[in-house]
Amino acid sequence: MNAIRLAGKFRKLVNGLEEINFNDVSSISECINRLEDLYPGVKAAICDENGEVLKIIDIFVNGDNIRSLEGLSSRLKDGDEIDIISAFAGG
């Protein structure tokens, strides 16, 4: 199982849940597609029209940024935790 958390203003896209759990998810892009199936609008908030992750978004697998892994193709194994955050701008 994989736990996915969306922080900040994205949380309302997943009805305010602390985390979403998926079984057998193999990559970050698959994870985003499955989120989109359940919660339409998530993908458009995270990715641009070419499907690339927006530069105001950071996605972490077990605390490692996917920019230092393999981006959207980063593989996931059972138990990996995914954090999706947008820049916190308020002060």
């Binding site: 949380r11 305010g16 972490f60 954090d83 701008a89 002060g91």
Partner: protein, 259 residues
């Protein structure tokens, strides 16, 4: 040198392990710039003033409005309509008359950022937008002083400590800025308190040479479910702001430790 009055006033932090008279003396000599006197600027400035930071410059162009008062604890109802920086300056001087406070009612922009930051030891991010944050990030990298990023939204927030050559910078973390928040974006005062206090903690640790700094880590606070998580950050070798600075290119010697 600390006088007897100061030794008594700061006694409870002087007896901290690894802090002592040296740490307090360093705080007294320190010059801290606080960019913003709102939700984050309130707890940051109050705790730094109370701790005895010798010089605080607080910058904000805004005036106090009623809907600020749920989180901007520097102000009260009588302050509505008044300039935040000047009111904050007065409040901080009352809180600690042994420190110097400079209040500046300006907007930080490209034309004044160098002059406003020159001669300071650290920059505290208490702004509410990424345009200003990027300017401060660049200024701090240029003059080799730390920049303590903090940001909040609703019951959540994040912070990290940025030091040239030692950590990812704000542009490495967020290469492009989110669109400005609508003025009515949600925020709970306690969220600003938590993130602002953690930023103040980082500044005091850096200035007094105590503990380890939050370098290359983004600490994310989720108040709704009460979770704290640390995400690892990496420098982007192609970062337009910090890519050209080598990791040996810093003046902090052995003190700065990574987690």
């Amino acid at each position: 040198m600390l006088n007897e009055h100061e030794k008594e006033k700061y006694n409870r932090q002087l007896i901290l392990d690894n802090f002592g008279l040296d740490g307090q003396e360093r705080l007294k000599q320190a010059r801290v710039l606080i960019a913003g006197a709102g939700g984050l600027g309130s707890p940051i400035s109050i705790y730094l003033a109370a701790a005895g930071v010798g010089t605080i410059r607080i910058i904000d162009k805004d005036v106090v409005s009623l809907s600020n008062l749920n989180r901007q604890i520097l102000y009260n109802k009588k302050d509505i309509g008044g300039k935040k920086s000047l009111l904050a300056g007065n409040k901080l001087k009352k809180l600690n008359s042994d420190i110097k406070v400079e209040a500046i009612a300006e907007t930080i922009d490209n034309s004044n950022v160098s002059q406003l930051t020159a001669g300071f030891d650290i920059i505290m991010d208490a702004t509410d937008n990424f345009q200003t944050r990027y300017l401060l990030n660049e200024a701090a990298l240029k003059i080799q002083i730390p920049f303590i990023y903090g940001g909040i939204y609703g019951m959540e927030g994040a912070l990290t400590t940025i030091i040239r050559g030692q950590s990812a910078c704000l542009k490495c973390i967020f290469p492009s800025s989110p669109p400005p928040l609508p003025c009515q974006s949600p925020v709970l005062g306690a969220t600003a308190g938590i993130i602002g206090c953690l930023q103040a903690m980082e500044a005091i640790k850096y200035l007094s040479h105590t503990g380890e700094l939050l370098l290359d880590r983004l600490l994310i606070f989720d108040g709704l479910y009460m979770n704290f998580r640390k995400m690892k950050l990496n420098r982007n070798p192609e970062c337009p702001d910090c890519g050209r600075f080598s990791s040996r290119d810093n003046k902090f010697g052995g003190f700065v430790k990574k987690p």
